[in-house]
């Protein structure tokens, strides 16, 4: 069920559910000095779902995840992971979750096996159970052959895989993944996305933060879009794109003219619903029908002595949803 959030949000009414709830967040807030990093965030995640927190850098995704991982104490609200409160039952929450941080959180001077053994012990594994689990994870992340090598000599993709493996050691019920594909090659990215799907097929609940809409679209049962510390909308992919209706998204690059001037002229055209100026001086338009409007755009540009150097037309997607709701592009925020 689609829900476009308007402030103030009603706690506990984030979505309708059919299955048991793995994560329930109610009115979560966090301030850093005078900055409101997260404001009144509420949502729920059913067991066995993959839910993505999608938003630009600084949207509050990582802060939200940090509170759900008991790393930060919320200033307001509360959340329950497998019915354990993050405020009053942190130890139980920590046992229920696995966290894959955004950065590589491994000891580079230790080997893959030593890292897994250490983290396994920190999660309370001992003896044969630990040994067996370490071997399973090494197999799972494809590092059995390299288990004795220092992590410092691993490739970026190998580190990423081991980084995920550590979070799975104690068989958590809920897995948090904080932008796990940032800065890696396409092949490793593909491997990670496939791993997330595989884990989910095995019943794991995954809360995944990203600013890549393609990842959110591919992986998620539901998507929660955040901006400036708030949840601005949440729902399934299909539900979200309906917000922008049948609008197309056109990215244009122009030269020999002040972009602001042409933006104003284009916005005045019939069929152009929104025009936004990007940081690289390109322009993004939401239009009713790109086929009809394109000749008019060229005509206006020519009239201003401008030259359109590139045109990119996209059908409705999450980027368009974000643009529609915030007036900014996901990548430009």
């Amino acid at each position: 069920m689609l829900q476009v959030v308007t402030q103030p949000q009603v706690p506990g009414k984030a979505a309708n559910h059919n299955g048991p709830i793995a994560i329930r967040v109610e009115g979560l807030g966090k301030n850093f000095d005078k900055i409101q990093a997260v404001q009144d965030v509420s949502f729920e995640v059913e067991e066995g779902q993959i839910v993505s927190l999608l938003g630009p850098n600084g949207a509050g995704k990582t802060t939200t995840l940090s509170m759900l991982a008991c790393l930060l104490r919320p200033d307001s609200g509360d959340a329950w992971i497998m019915d354990y409160s993050i405020k009053t039952e942190a130890a139980a929450v920590k046992q229920a979750i696995g966290v894959v941080p955004q950065e590589i959180a491994l000891y580079s001077d230790l080997s893959a096996k030593e890292n897994l053994q250490f983290w396994g012990k920190m999660y309370g594994l001992r003896g044969p159970k630990l040994t067996g689990r370490v071997e399973e994870i090494l197999e799972l992340v494809g590092l059995t052959e390299r288990q004795k090598g220092p992590v410092a000599k691993f490739s970026g993709g190998m580190k990423r895989r081991l980084n995920i493996g550590v979070a799975l050691l104690h068989r958590p019920q809920v897995l948090y993944m904080d932008e796990p594909t940032v800065g890696i090659d396409p092949q490793s990215r593909r491997n990670i996305l496939d791993s997330v799907k595989k884990l989910n097929r095995e019943g794991m609940t995954v809360l995944y933060t990203t600013h890549y809409m393609e990842e959110a679209q591919e992986l998620s049962n539901r998507i929660i879009i955040m901006d400036q510390g708030k949840v601005i909308v949440q729902g399934t992919h299909q539900e979200l794109v309906k917000i922008v209706g049948e609008q197309d998204r056109i990215n244009l690059t122009v030269s020999q003219v002040v972009p602001k001037e042409i933006a104003e002229r284009w916005h005045a055209l019939e069929g152009v619903n929104r025009v936004s100026l990007n940081e690289d001086n390109s322009l993004t338009l939401l239009v009713s029908d790109s086929n009809l409007i394109l000749p008019n755009l060229f005509e206006v540009a020519t009239g201003l002595g401008a030259r359109i150097t590139s045109v990119d037309i996209q059908e409705p997607n999450l980027e368009a949803v974000f643009l529609h709701l915030t007036g900014r592009g996901l990548r430009d925020s």
């Binding site: 940090s66 991982a69 008991c70 790393l71 930060l72 104490r73 130890a91 920590k94 046992q95 979750i97 966290v99 941080p101 955004q102 950065e103 590589i104 959180a105 491994l106 000891y107 001077d109 230790l110 030593e114 250490f118 983290w119 012990k121 920190m122 999660y123 309370g124 550590v166």
Partner: protein, 411 residues
């Protein structure tokens, strides 16, 4: 259990860092060896760590003064030196500058007057404000009391003997008296009861300390700070990367994390202490084994305090270079003010007072109370207590800062 896991991991990482071998083993051993050698303490001449006592005898042929010399010579606290005539003229100055802890000047006619029953006391020059001066004075008074007792015994014995069988002449009487006095004095070599006075005062000495007894513990105290660098880096890097964040998502508490890192630091420092104390004992005869339990107490207190300092450095440092810089600043400041390189007493009262505000001065005090002043476990309790108090203060600051850095609720 997780605390030990974390400590073991830290030590595993530390042993793989080449800085550990340099800062914990190589540099302190080399510094200890070369500094003691340069200061003339490598030949083993410093094995007698008793306090130097000048004995100036203006009654050279007296039987009583000779026995006084013997009694003092048997002391475990002082070692006798007989200055030449030039030195005798400057004896007050030599006590002040630390050549001697104290001086005993036996006046002319001392033996004759005592035998005759006339009270006469030797002159003593000593700084009573210093703990070693007090120790030396105690030793002198003990010897003097024993001499008085022996004299009394010899007198009584002679009179008793004379009552039963008169002496043939005065010489025979004098010989009998001399033998009785020698026998009574000699009996003090194996007293039936030995009382050792242990003092826990704040005045330290050291101005009579041999190079080895000063520099061996001095380098040890100095290098516990530098030895922390590599393990501080481990904790610092953990803080700067997301490994600390990841650790905080496991069931270990934030306090447990601090204790785990602290345990590793204390363990590493304790290993370094064992190494340097063994080296000092074997290579330079520094008598750490005089009271092993007392030395062990100081070692543990020093290691725990150093660990709290290491945590403090690791928590406050913002960049890697600051870890090394803070360690070096701490090392040089604490070494200089704490009397690691030279005895605080030769620096004057102001410097000495300031010095005693540092934990390093108390660590030195603890070690030297045993190896220099020959005192026991009672004399290290105050230094150990002060080191532990500093540990509590440092650890409280660390906990506060760690909480702020991680925005965590430490409860």
């Amino acid at each position: 259990m997780r605390i030990f896991t974390l400590a073991f991991k830290d030590l595993l990482q530390t042993t793989r860092d080449v800085r550990t071998a340099v800062f914990v083993v190589v540099m302190p051993l080399l510094f200890t060896y070369f500094l003691i050698a340069v200061n003339g303490g490598a030949s083993g001449s410093s094995t007698d760590s008793r306090l130097a006592l000048a004995f100036i005898n203006h009654d050279p042929n007296g039987i009583v003064s000779a026995q006084f010399f013997n009694l003092l010579g048997n002391s475990e606290v002082v070692r006798l030196g007989v200055p030449d005539e030039n030195a005798q003229a400057r004896i007050s100055e030599q006590v002040r500058d630390g050549t001697y802890t104290a001086a005993v000047i036996v006046p002319a006619g001392y033996s004759e007057q005592l035998i005759a029953g006339t009270p006469v006391k030797p002159q003593v020059i000593v700084d009573q404000g210093s703990e070693s001066g007090q120790s030396a004075l105690n030793a002198i008074e003990t010897a003097s009391d024993r001499l008085q007792g022996a004299l009394q015994t010899a007198r009584q014995t002679t009179q008793t003997f004379e009552a039963r069988q008169p002496f043939t002449d005065a010489t025979a009487r004098q010989n009998f008296f001399n033998e009785a006095l020698a026998a009574a004095t000699g009996a003090w070599k194996t007293p039936t009861l030995t009382v050792r006075t242990e003092q826990g005062g704040t005045q330290s000495t050291g101005n009579q300390v041999s190079p080895a007894t000063q520099l061996s513990p001095g380098i040890l105290v100095q290098f516990v700070v530098l030895g922390l660098v590599s393990i501080c880096v481990v904790f610092f890097l953990e803080r700067k990367t997301q490994t600390l964040s990841r650790m905080l998502t496991t069931p270990i508490s934030p306090l447990g994390i601090l204790l785990g890192h602290g345990l590793a630091m204390a363990g590493l420092i304790f290993f370094q202490e064992i190494l340097l104390i063994t080296f000092g004992q074997i290579a330079f005869g520094v008598d750490y084994l005089r009271d092993p339990l007392a030395v062990l107490l100081v070692m543990v207190a020093l290691a725990v305090w150093a660990a709290s300092l290491g945590l403090l450095i690791a928590v406050f440092a913002r960049v890697m270079e600051q870890v090394v810089m803070f360690s070096l600043i701490a090392m040089f400041t604490l070494s200089t003010l704490g009397g690691c390189w030279f005895p605080l007493e030769i620096t004057g009262p102001v410097f000495s007072t300031i010095g005693h505000l540092t934990p390093s001065a108390w660590a030195m005090e603890g070690f030297q109370n045993v190896i220099v002043r020959g005192q026991g476990i009672g004399a290290v309790l105050l230094p150990v207590g002060i080191l532990m108090a500093y540990t509590v203060v440092f650890f409280s600051i660390v906990t506060w800062k760690f909480q702020r850095r991680t925005s965590l609720n430490m409860a």
